[in-house]
Amino acid sequence: MKLKENIAISDSGYLFNPSTGESFVLNPLGMEVLQFVKKGKSFEEISKEVLTRYSVDSITFEKDYQDFIHQLRQYLLIGSDE
């Protein structure tokens, strides 16, 4: 899974996709997860990191992570070379 290269992400959680002209906002954890994805980290690595720092159980985070990735895919922010 790879984030499309030309996507611009600001430090404040603003995301712009020049291919479609669409803009998005991310909440803080969304921003963190996206940065992990950008660095090519696996779900297991991301989950371990999040569970260490946030008060959430692994099932809930896995469900929310899948939903988040689904959204990235839905908005064509993840490349097809995953």
Binding site: F24, V25, L26, L34, R53, S55, V56, Y65, D67, Q71
Partner: protein, 448 residues
Amino acid sequence: MEKQRYERPILKKLEMGMPGKFGVAANLPPTTHIDGISVDSLVETYGSPVFILSEKTIRSVFKRAKKAFTTRYPKVQFAWSYKTNYLNAVCRIYHQEGSWAEVVSGFEYDKAIANGVQGQHIIFNGPDKSAIYLEKAIRNDSILHIDHLDELYTIIELTEKLAKKPKVAIRVNMDTGIQPMWDRFGFNYENGQAWDALNKIMHSGKLDLVGLHTHIGTFIMSPQAYGVAAQKLADLAIGIRQKYNHTIKYIDMGGGFASANTLKGFYYPGSDTNPTFDDYAEAITSALLNTQFTPDNLPLLILETGRALIDEAGYLLGTVIANKRLSTGKRTTIVDIGINLLFTSFWYEHKLTPARHYSQYTEATTVYGPLCMNIDVIRENVNLPLLNKGDHFVIHHVGAYNMTQWMQFITLRPKIVLIDQDGTAHVIRENETMDNVMNMEHLPAHLK
């Protein structure tokens, strides 16, 4: 190290809508407490879902409505519309505040009597009054609002048997300049039906014509329509005095005032844009004062408003069952409140607030009920914070009709709790049990 509060990761697409002159807050403050009791503890104690009624709000809204009319007109009487919410505790609060009872069936009539309302303070409306209940109402000196000629003739027949002169009024329907025009109840003003009925009553000599009644519609957004209606009823009253030298004691403007709910299709919240009691009172009382009634001959003004009095006092507390996405990516939240409990979600965009604080991030969400029915939609589209399974929320302004029109369908009906003026909670209606439902059924022998 203490862990940080978790909020699921979200990605929200920014949509450019039509610019509006007035902004509407996208993120509503949470409702953590109702009359001093936390929403979480109410759910924990009484289950989810649960209806909550605030006695403090019931009484304060009533006083606001009463003040709007009594400051403008000297003789005002409210009659509590039983069908809007006929829980005994609710009815008794209104009766304590001085309301008469307005009922539309034998069942409601008996409820009013059981609630200690004196017969002469019960207004009997509706198209279905059986001869048995008409007789009962006549014996109790209740006021009969005649809906059709068949009823009029039944009452005249009963007078021969009872040797009493029943107190009657007619319900008048009319064109008040709004659509839809309700003409299925009562007698029409414009085509002469109303005068025909009045002439029959007066010529019979057996009935005491005490009032004139109308109920022009429901959730009326135009106060001026009430002004037109009051003017037309006043014209009838003045005509009766001229023709028969008979004085009408009261004019009953019925109900139909809008509450603070937002009707579907309206852009701005009903709490900001719907008419207030003062708007309705100004239209009605001005119309009456500007007629030929002399100051010492003004009729009593009766109001049967229900929805606008109780809606604000009702809350429905629920719990998130699940979150999921539709094929389009649209966020949906499934909650334990369905249209079987929230009948009014068919026509209102009910205000829905979380029961605790969340971050400023929201998502456009469709809120579905728990029923396995496609029509079970509580909100088509509402900006909600990132609710999780098990989180509690509050639906506002549900006091009218939901606790009478609700259905035992798929699930059992929940408890209703009243928080009194001291902040103490009382269960005023128990939740249904399996036994309640099963005990009404009978199995034929061959199926046992």
